[in-house]
């Protein structure tokens, strides 16, 4: 049976998720584009994941796994670790049974590339396609002249 609608991640869980998302999409080398965590996508990703309770529960378990691994290093929680140690813990978790589900990566990509700042960078308008749509220029049908000139190509039978 599917679990009910999940409760949102708490503040510490969202803070813990941010470096995970930055690992998926780090800042660009020139610093123009932010990492996914830096962009504040933890809340967006949480919201999307909550539509899929099973997946959300897996992510919560993985976040708990980060805290357990942090505790082995003497930290109260994952977010209390320095960035370098966080990276080590994330690598260790990724090799364990509590690794983050692959769909987290998919939804992180999805949330990143619908963010207005990222869309603007790539020249996309930051809006849904409807109801405005897009203008497309009329076709130059003289392009068909060589096709017409060749004549019929269907098989007569």
């Amino acid at each position: 049976m599917r679990p009910g609608k999940p409760t949102p991640l708490n503040d510490d869980e969202r803070r813990a998720l941010a470096p995970v998302l930055d690992g998926f999409i780090p800042p660009s080398d020139d610093g123009v584009l932010p990492g996914a965590g830096e962009l504040g996508l933890a809340a967006d990703v949480d919201e999307v994941l909550r539509r899929e309770p099973d997946l959300h529960a897996q992510v919560v378990r993985s976040l708990a796994g980060l805290d357990r691994l942090a505790a082995r290093r003497g930290a109260a929680r994952f977010t209390a670790l320095a960035a370098e140690q966080q990276a080590e813990v994330m690598t260790e978790l990724s090799c364990s049974e509590h690794a983050f589900p692959p769909l987290l990566l998919v939804y992180t990509f999805g949330c990143y590339y619908k963010h207005p700042r990222i869309l603007a960078h790539y020249g996309f308008e930051a809006r849904p396609p409807h109801p405005k749509g897009y203008e497309v220029a009329p076709t130059d049908l003289s392009l068909l002249d060589p096709v017409r000139g060749r004549g019929p190509i269907y098989r007569r039978c």
Binding site: F24, I25, V106, G110, P128, V136, V147, P152, Y154, R155
Partner: protein, 538 residues
Amino acid sequence: MAEQPVDVLIVGAGASGAAVAWSLAETRMRIVCLEQGDWLKPDDYPGSREDWELSQIRDFSPSPNVRGRSEDYPVNDGASPIAASMFNAVGGSTVLYAAHFPRFHPSDFRARALDGVGDDWPLDYARLAPWYNLNSRMMGVSGLTGDPAYPAEPPKEFPLPPIPLGRLGETLARGFNRLGWHWWPSDSAIASQDYEGRAGCINAGTCLLGCPHGAKASTDVTYWPLAIRHGVELRTRCRVREITVGADGMADGVIYYDADGVERRLAAHVVIMACNGIGTPRLLLNSRSRHFPDGLANRSGLVGRNLMFHPYAIITGIFDEPLEGYKGPTGCSLMSHEFYETDGTRGFARGYSFEMLRGFGPVATALYGMAFGRVLPGEGHHRGYAELADRTAGIAAICEDLPEPGNRVTLDPDLADSNGIPAPKVTYRLSENSTRMLDHAVARGREVMTAAGARDTMVQAPLTMAGWHLMGTARMGCDPATSVVNEWGRCHDVRNLFIVDGSIFVTAGAVNPTNTIQALALHIAYSIKQRLSNLFDD
């Protein structure tokens, strides 16, 4: 109190069910259609939401198994390299289709006579031509007459001018021209201008997620409003479990579950199946009786056999310049039938068509890029994305599948839908002929991409999530020993049972089948109307 028998009971409100309902409505018979899905509203479609692209991952996936809606039924396609795709709602799979709308070629109806493969249809292109043209008017098809890949007479009629190619389409058209290959603006079931109360296309590019604008011709906005206005009753959230048979061996109605899961019976004088090439054999096989212990209308043993998909290859070109590929209908721009007809030098029988695809949206660019190993997490991510962003164009190769009895639909012994009705199981093997054809198509697709200016290509072949076209599982023919229905859709074994969906295809052609499905449905409806006084005679 038992409900009075209806004159005609149609099962399924998709492409074919809508067409046959509309055509029969003029008889003023009492016609009821049972549809397991529901009406969708423009606001239900994700194209107006900021997260519109994410919806294809789950809620608007083409796979019923991924969506998991109660209106859908699961399909066990674990024994097939191609996954079944469909949608259950008023409009059926036309709600999510690309609306690429070409016709079969004349040679498609004579594959056995011409090439010694498959079988010949009991009718020909000329017989269907008037129904193609009627369907074109009813669906509001956009296109350009004069395509040299088809006979000039009778002319293909289009009530609307073609969908514009856009920068991406013109780029590819020049590539085809450099190679001297055929191409033509797509026949598109998308209104390029306002038509019959529907708004013209605004090039939003969300066709595969439903069209909130109503420009795409799904049958919930074309045939159904007219059919209902003419008296057809459409009952939604009604899932048929089986067709029942009387003592005389004739169909006498159905047993179905209503929206509350209550089992009901509806008696009928004529039953018409319009459930697609998987749903129809599923229901026939689930309708066992003393007269039909192996499933209804299955004395030939062919119900469920000869399942044909169209094996797909997708060739995606990567260009240096922006193509504005996210502007315009996803699957409707141009098509090429250069390799449609059999050429003995190619190493395979029959052929394939090319359907040009627009580029990816922002999210799809990342996800497809990841699938191809071009947009990876971590270091190098932004460089990979920048190389693909608005710089891709796709071509789908749609390969003709040949009928093989071993490719089939059966009932799964364990899997069931939300009403407990056995789910279909698909067993399908890609043939050697299809494999060689896919290889040829990929090579030619790369060639034309290069000719158009692509600096690199990415290929998916066969495409897994491509079981949109479901055909052949209750084939048409003159001989009851080798076919399930006759040349006007009546089951050989049950003279008041008709099939109008893709199940009755004898061969698959190499184009999207919906136009042919609907032309056949109109032909069958006309045939029924012509024979009302002696419909059940030998």
